[in-house]
């Protein structure tokens, strides 16, 4: 201990300027990040997620600190050689000291951030995520570069070492791809970028902001193995500190480890759906043939679902159906869930054909007018907006992840966005869910019977497992991302306002909606947040709202979107055959929102009204444009309630000539007079 104490004192004394300059710079930069993102924007997630330059600069600093710590011993080596075991002792203690300095630095950041989180909200749970991020993306990379610097320092006296270290740092740092991309922008060597991606020790993509539902993507195994290998080389270096030939091998083995690790990808449990999203866009942009209507004419009595979510998300489902009219039945299931097997209750394999979102099952016997049980097995990963992976699950009850006899595609393309349809059953059915998975579920819309069994009646089945926390407020269970702990006040205010707007909606349409017991607040799950106000779904037992307090509050109060969320919140049967129908609803919603808005006069939510009209307009035919233009003249006023009620009814009827009906309505309510 005395040796360590003296060595530590001398190391700190010898490197006081380097340590002061380096650590103070890092603290200042970290402080700047925390101030601008956490303190000013209250964006706890991005305060860390966007810290790539802090990671990068720290990696460089600790690499050179490691190098200097090793180099400073070279003068005393001749003397140490005469003291048995002293070289090993000194070099080992220096490694301990290096790792200790790094640990103290990173843990001081953990303490600072944690204290600040508690200052913002004492009941937060984000400190654990934040600590894990700092350990994974700062501590471990700093250990790795520090050890590399140390190994090179012990094994090399050459000035070439500096260039070698800079090269390694550039390859390992979070900006390596951007750095090399710029360097090689005019070459065809882009294939090598995946190798750089595999080498990157920091945040995987420095430009991708934090996604509160997924939390941080942390990779432990590879980094820990890296550290263990480097520690091995360090120990080898210590024992071969006198032998020059072995020293060269030690230095080369650092490079060899680097090359080996560039070939090993990081575990792929993170979300990489972009390619899939483009395929979906191509698929849903076309209109696909829907099976004969009669095949969907049956009734689903109850569904037993067994979900196993480990390596794959797999579903084993028993669906009891009756009132079958033909020898075949069809159901809708999101095409990304690949059906492997369909059996009847006797275990007999049934022939089936899965084409896109529709599956037709051949029934071998005449089940007409009888109740039968279908056993359907399928696996899949969900979509970008509705993931079903071992880590994160967001499968709301109105998403087509459970077979349904609704004759509607699960998605449609609108204004270059793939938008999910709402596929809830019109009437509640009995569900029994058995769930086994790597992580536990945060929310299920059924009653929990045991640790893995849930039961109840619902119009669909909701499974949510994300980086969420839960708290009780009045009679409500509120679920929301852990990183939103600093927005608790805004979220509460938002729900109060939501309740007021529900009341406005009820008064207008004579409905009886109210805030359900379970409220799930999520960030935008789609590729962007353009349609965030439409991705709200509610039933008697749950309300799932997508919103982004961090982004939205930068410009206007969080609750300005509420009037435009209402129509979609409690209408889970609202599904769209195509974008034109959706456009018609958006126009309606833009006017409805204005009527529901208690602060319509201050125009703060006007932008949402305009946006809906802007994106809907291209889907309105030239023939119908005059009617649409006539409506726009009412943009600055509220429409009569009677008009809105009738407009909604005509949108909901089975007739397709919405605009003609609307024109008649305009005339009958004498609003056409404005023209």
């Amino acid at each position: 201990m005395r040796t360590f104490k003296i060595l530590s004192v001398q190391t700190i004394k010898s490197h006081k300027y380097l340590l002061i300059l380096g650590l103070v710079s890092l603290y200042i930069y970290a402080g700047f990040l925390l101030y601008s993102t956490l303190f000013k924007l209250k964006d706890a997630g991005n305060a860390l997620q966007l810290s790539s330059f802090l990671i990068q600069s720290g990696m460089l600093f600790f690499m050179f600190l490691g190098f200097r710590l090793a180099r400073k011993n070279s003068g005393a080596m001749a003397l140490y050689k005469t003291i048995k075991g002293s070289i090993i002792k000194v070099l080992l203690l220096n490694i301990v000291l290096l790792l200790l300095i790094i640990t103290i630095f990173v843990f001081s950041l953990i303490v600072i951030t944690t204290l600040y989180y508690f200052h913002l909200n004492p009941s937060n749970h984000f400190y654990f995520e934040s600590g894990a991020f700092l350990i994974n993306n700062l501590l471990l990379p700093y250990f790795i570069t520090g050890l590399i610097g140390y190994i090179v320092g012990v094994n090399s006296r050459s000035t070439f070492s500096y260039a070698y270290l800079i090269l390694i740092w550039a390859l390992l740092s979070p900006t390596n791809q951007y750095f090399v991309n710029n360097l090689l922008s005019n070459t065809q060597l882009t294939e090598g970028f995946s190798l750089l991606h595999n080498l990157n020790l920091g945040v995987q993509d420095m430009n991708v902001p934090y996604q509160p539902f997924y939390g941080f993507q942390l990779y432990w195994a590879k980094k820990v193995i890296y550290i263990l290998i480097l520690l091995g080389i360090c120990i080898l270096s210590i024992f071969t500190a006198i032998k020059q030939r072995l020293q060269r091998i030690n230095i080369a083995s650092v490079l060899f480890t680097l090359v080996s690790f560039s070939l090993i990808p990081y575990s792929s449990n993170n979300i990489n759906y972009l390619d899939g999203y483009l395929d979906e866009y191509d698929f849903y942009e076309k209109r696909h043939k829907i099976p004969y209507k009669d095949l969907f004419d049956y009734k689903i009595e109850n569904i037993k679902v067994v979900v196993k979510n480990y390596e794959k998300f797999s579903v084993d489902l028993e669906m009891e159906v009756n009132n079958i009219k033909t020898s075949k039945i069809a159901f809708t299931l999101y095409k990304g869930f690949h059906i492997t097997e369909i059996n009847d209750s006797n275990g007999i394999n049934l022939l089936f054909e899965q084409t896109g979102d529709y599956t037709i099952v051949n029934l071998p016997l005449n089940y007409k007018e009888r109740t039968m049980t279908l056993n359907v097995k399928y696996t899949g990963n969900g979509t970008l907006a509705n993931p079903a992976t071992q880590n994160k699950v967001f499968l709301p009850s109105d998403f087509g992840w459970i077979p349904t006899n609704k004759m509607t595609p699960t998605h449609f393309v609108f204004n270059e966005h793939v938008i999910p349809n709402k596929l809830s059953n019109p009437e509640p059915i009995k569900f029994k869910l058995t769930y086994e998975g790597k992580d536990k579920l945060d929310y299920v819309n059924l009653k929990q019977r045991s640790s893995s069994v849930y039961e109840g009646e619902a119009t669909g089945l909701t499974l949510i497992s994300g980086d969420l926390t839960q708290r009780k407020k009045d009679d409500h269970n509120i679920y929301y991302p852990k990183s939103w702990f600093s927005y608790e006040f805004e979220l509460d205010k938002y729900l109060v306002e939501f309740e007021k707007i529900i009341s406005n909606y009820n008064n207008l349409f004579k409905t009886n909606y109210k805030l359900p017991k379970n409220i799930v607040l999520l960030p935008s799950m789609a590729i962007n947040d353009s349609y965030i106000f439409t991705f709200t779904s509610g039933t008697k037992e749950q309300l799932i709202i997508q919103l982004d307090p961090v982004e939205l509050t930068k410009k206007r109060p969080l609750n300005t979107t509420i009037p435009y969320q209402m129509e979609f919140a409690f209408n889970n049967n609202k599904n769209f055959d195509g974008p034109e129908q959706f456009a018609n609803w958006l126009v309606f919603n833009s006017f409805l929102g204005a009527n529901l808005d208690n602060d319509f006069e201050d125009k703060s939510s006007f932008i949402f009204k305009q946006y809906q009209q802007l994106v809907a307009e291209p889907y309105i035919s030239e023939k119908d444009k005059p009617i649409y233009n006539q409506l726009l003249k009412y943009n600055n006023t509220k429409l009569p309630n009677e008009f809105l009620i009738k407009w909604k009814l005509l949108l909901e009827d089975d007739e397709e000539n919405d605009w003609e009906q609307l024109q008649k309505l305009l005339k009958t309510t004498q609003m056409g007079a404005i023209q």
């Binding site: 005395r2 004192v9 001398q10 010898s14 003068g75 003397l79 050689k81 005469t82 002293s86």
Partner: protein, 284 residues
């Protein structure tokens, strides 16, 4: 006594030490020109390096105490930002022999009290060297190996250091000093080893060494212009100027000069004997 048997050392194909056989005792001075292999020999004795296969170093320890070696390398370099006391404390701890009273004693012995809290980089060459020897004594060694104790020191510091070495000689069994300065050896040592190109030229006492070259040392008064001629018959070891044109020269020859009135035989002294050894035949 330290017995060295068949010691050779080859580095990258070059024989740095070539089959040395020595018996080092008392205060042994190892002297030789630059590149003779002195430092390598010292390192091998101090166990910093190993000799080639077949080489043997035997410490004939007369007491029952375990062998403890104190070593001062030629380039004693240690963390410049540590104070003298911190250096001694650190090295004592590393040697597993931390004894603050002993450290204080060494500080007194080497007259380092005023420098105790000074950083190593602030010390003069002589003080730095004194700290070097003090650290070599931290583990209370029975064998002390000092490589070039007076390297880089001025005359006064050299004298001080030599006195200190004489003082501590009573506290250790054997001291081995290497130097390329004959004065160091002559002043301190009672046993002398001369090596050149890794080979032994001489081993024995100072008187034996002088005796070997008794008939080879001469003195002459010659003109300054004739100095070059003298180089043909011997090696000049001392020149005293008498006048603008005349100098008194002491020189060493390879063979005795017979019947020459110009040259007067004189006692060779240590320096003369040393030069004589280097220019003469190798003594097996």
């Amino acid at each position: 006594m330290i017995t060295i048997k068949n010691l050779s050392k080859t580095i990258r194909g070059n024989k740095i030490i070539d089959n040395l056989n020595l018996k080092l005792k008392g205060i042994t001075g190892i002297i030789g020109p630059n590149g003779a292999g002195k430092s390598t020999l010292m390192k091998i004795i101090a166990s910093v390096e190993k000799g080639d296969k077949g080489s043997e170093i035997i410490f004939n320890n007369t007491s029952n105490e375990p062998i403890r070696i104190g070593y001062l390398p030629q380039n004693f370099s240690i963390y410049p930002n540590l104070t003298v006391y911190e250096v001694l404390k650190l090295l004592a701890t590393l040697k597993g022999n931390f004894d603050s009273a002993h450290i204080e004693y060494l500080i007194e012995l080497f007259n380092l009290a005023n420098y105790k809290n000074k950083k190593m980089k602030e010390l003069s060459g002589g003080t730095h060297r004194r700290v070097g020897i003090a650290q070599a004594l931290l583990n209370k060694p029975n064998y002390l190996i000092i490589d070039e104790p007076t390297a880089g020191l001025d005359i006064i510091e050299c004298i001080k250091l030599r006195n200190i070495l004489l003082t501590i000689s009573e506290k250790v069994e054997d001291i081995i000093i290497s130097s390329h300065l004959p004065e160091d050896i002559e002043y301190i040592c009672n046993h002398i080893v001369v090596i050149e190109k890794g080979q032994k030229r001489f081993e024995g006492s100072l008187s034996e060494m002088i005796q070997r070259s008794e008939n080879l040392s001469y003195e002459a008064t010659i003109e300054l212009n004739d100095l070059q001629k003298l180089n043909v018959i011997g090696e000049i070891v001392k020149i005293d100027k008498i006048s603008d044109k005349l100098v008194k020269v002491k020189f060493i020859t390879r063979k005795p000069i017979a019947d020459h009135q110009l040259y007067k035989p004189v006692q060779p002294g240590f320096l003369g004997s040393y030069v004589s050894l280097l220019k003469g035949e190798v003594v097996p």
